[in-house]
């Protein structure tokens, strides 16, 4: 009998707290509504404010982008902003995949997304892109972010890129291409290890081989070509991109 009494008490405690949470939730919703009525524009128009907002949320353990059904999304419209950006990112990556093997610099992605959004769309920063991409990972399409030389490469295909591949990409970022000798010199690897990594990149379509280069063959990264010259997405590519 005492056991049962304890159980009952336990249930009541949780019920109390749930009721309390429900009440506090309602209050919070009202606070958020008030905030939104005054500052919703700030979030949409100001990339720096968005960064602050996201950082603060992360600090307290809240993910405002977890669900479109969350308060943040519903009332501040943060969700729609990032989820739509996600769609645009997917489309750009799909359109250019055959050219760059599924690797693209954050700069080029930024440029192409801005172009797609048109003149009157809200400003989108690179930080925004990174956050949208982090959310896309959960879709299993291989979205990933690789830091290279002060910026980032965005991967959008489920190709396995381990530390070896990443470090070679970083090396290639400086000139847009890399050679076996350079890898041996900079990274102190055996030729075989360098060759395996480069072959993997070739197979994935992320690197192109220039056998006519003076000296030894050069492995170029098409993802970095736009650093040299920028290209538009052709109408055929755009059609490819839309499911």
């Amino acid at each position: 009998l005492p056991q049962a009494k304890y159980k009952e008490r336990g249930t009541v405690l949780a019920e109390d707290q749930l009721a309390q949470m429900s009440k506090q939730l309602d209050m919070f919703r009202t606070n958020l509504e008030e905030f939104a009525s005054k500052h919703k524009q700030e979030i949409r128009k100001n990339p720096e404010f968005r960064v602050q907002f996201q950082d603060m949320c992360a600090t307290i353990g809240v993910d405002p982008l977890a669900s479109g059904k969350g308060f943040w999304s519903e009332m501040l419209g943060v969700g729609d902003f990032y989820y739509e950006l996600g769609v645009q990112i997917i489309e750009v990556c799909l359109a250019l995949k055959h050219r760059n093997g599924g690797l693209i610099t954050l700069e080029e992605l930024h440029q192409q997304v801005l172009k797609g959004r048109g003149k009157f769309a809200q400003d989108v920063s690179q930080d925004d892109l990174l956050r949208a991409i982090k959310k896309l990972k959960v879709l299993g399409n291989g979205f990933g972010i690789i830091p290279v030389g002060g910026t980032f490469l965005v991967q959008s295909v489920p190709a396995e890129l381990n530390m070896d591949h990443t470090v070679v990409l970083q090396l290639a970022e400086k000139k847009g291409f890399v050679t076996v000798s350079e890898i041996r010199a900079s990274l102190k690897w055996e030729t075989e290890r360098a060759r395996q990594v480069l072959e993997h990149l070739l197979k994935e379509g992320m690197a192109w081989l220039d056998t006519q280069a003076p000296g030894e063959p050069q492995y170029w990264l098409p993802a970095l070509f736009t650093e040299l010259y920028s290209q538009e997405i052709t109408p055929e590519e755009a059609k490819e991109a839309i499911p």
Partner: protein, 386 residues
């Protein structure tokens, strides 16, 4: 810092704004001065600094005073800086905040970044020396004569003033917004703490919590964007919302799936559904969580995850293993195919084409030829020609 003069901050006729950056601190050589937080503006003629809090406090130095500039990289706890070396102040310089200085250079600290662009533009202006070819009202009359200055350049001053007011408004709005945001976050933090406390209670009770309570708790977590502390499932997966969503998806995706051979990647679904919605979009996690419930709700679609991690939605009636048999035929007819070639032939996305060929390989029907020219699949003759 004795090269600076007080100014209204309004641009002269012929003077154009090149770039501006917030969050810049000025230093007199190595010494800090009270110009801690301001907007730094670069025009074709001058470098202007205006205090972010007190817009009346505005100083400028002509670009012609600059000897050369250097960059100083950021360090731990230190912002990136530009060091500006200056000629001595001319004798007829307008009054400024400092009468004298023991340094011949100043430092610009970029507390909110922007130094790379600013440095680039400043270098350009110093090189081009546009101030030499574009005359402006040289006598930058300050204080008493500022009114005369304004009459001289009415149109531009009017625009500048509007921009100025807008900047003030914006600054005020932003600081108010930040204040309100901080207060909001405090309240949100309380919610997080409460949810942890409830989660602990649930753990202690070890499953004595009713299903109803669980459902309620999960939906509260979903609203706040808090990860479920009990199961560590992603953000309230399996809530009523996701169940409803799953049913909706079954309706929306039936036709598109049929049009695409019964199978679509999750990214395709994400784009399709959100493009159709236009507003109140689904988060990637919403989609995944809803799809995870498809099977248990006995809906006519299911989620499938390939070895590669690629996630797809299939019609229940779709049988990928049967499609593999068809794929084998296609490959045999052509002798060999890459994922690209197969995709074009059959009219599928390359991603799904590759998964099908990999599955065929896994089932033993195809062999791979992995070379630098790409991944090519051949019928597995070891199997068929035993």
């Amino acid at each position: 810092m004795d090269r600076f003069s007080w100014t209204t901050g309004l641009l002269e006729l012929g003077e154009t704004l090149v770039v501006q950056q917030r969050g810049v601190r000025l230093s007199d050589g190595e010494e800090k001065v009270k110009f801690d937080s301001g907007v730094l503006l670069l025009s074709t003629h001058r470098l202007i600094w205006r205090d972010q809090k007190n817009h009346e406090c505005c100083i400028a130095v002509p670009l012609s005073q600059i000897v050369f500039i250097e960059e100083q990289a950021a360090g731990i706890g230190k912002s990136a800086k530009i060091v500006v070396h200056l000629h001595p102040a001319s004798s007829n310089k307008e009054p400024g905040p400092f009468q004298s200085s023991k340094y011949s250079y100043i430092k610009l600290s970029f507390k909110e970044h922007g130094q790379i662009e600013f440095y680039r533009r400043l270098s350009e202006e110093i090189t081009q020396r546009r101030w030499e070819s574009i005359p402006t009202g040289q006598a930058m009359q300050v204080n008493k004569d500022s009114k005369a200055g304004r009459i001289r350049a009415v149109g531009i001053v009017g625009i500048e003033r509007k921009l100025e007011e807008k900047r003030k408004e914006t600054d005020k709005n932003i600081s108010e917004a930040f204040e309100d945001l901080s207060k909001l976050m405090e309240k949100a933090k309380e919610m997080v703490e409460l949810s942890k406390s409830i989660a602990n209670k649930i753990k202690e009770k070890q499953g004595d919590i009713t299903e109803d309570e669980t459902i309620r708790f999960k939906s509260y977590l979903l609203s706040m964007g808090i990860a479920n502390p009990v199961t560590r499932e992603t953000y309230g997966s399996g809530t009523q919302y996701h169940m409803q969503l799953a049913k909706q998806l079954a309706g929306i995706l039936q036709t598109p799936l049929e049009e695409r051979g019964g199978i679509m990647s999750l990214t395709e679904v994400y784009c399709l559904v959100n493009r159709a919605r236009g507003l109140e979009l689904l988060s990637p996690e919403d989609l995944v969580n809803a799809c995870k419930m498809l099977e248990s709700l006995k809906l006519p679609l299911r989620l499938r995850i390939f070895d590669s991690g690629v996630m797809v939605i299939e019609l229940q009636s779709h049988n990928e293993e049967e499609m593999v048999a068809a794929a084998l035929e296609t490959v045999s007819e052509k002798g060999s195919l890459t994922a690209d070639e197969f995709a074009k032939l059959v009219g599928m996305s390359v991603l799904l084409a590759k998964e099908r060929l990999l599955l065929a390989e896994k089932m033993g029907h195809l062999c791979r030829d992995d070379s630098v020219e790409g991944l090519r699949f051949y019928p597995n003759l070891f199997l068929t020609q035993s």
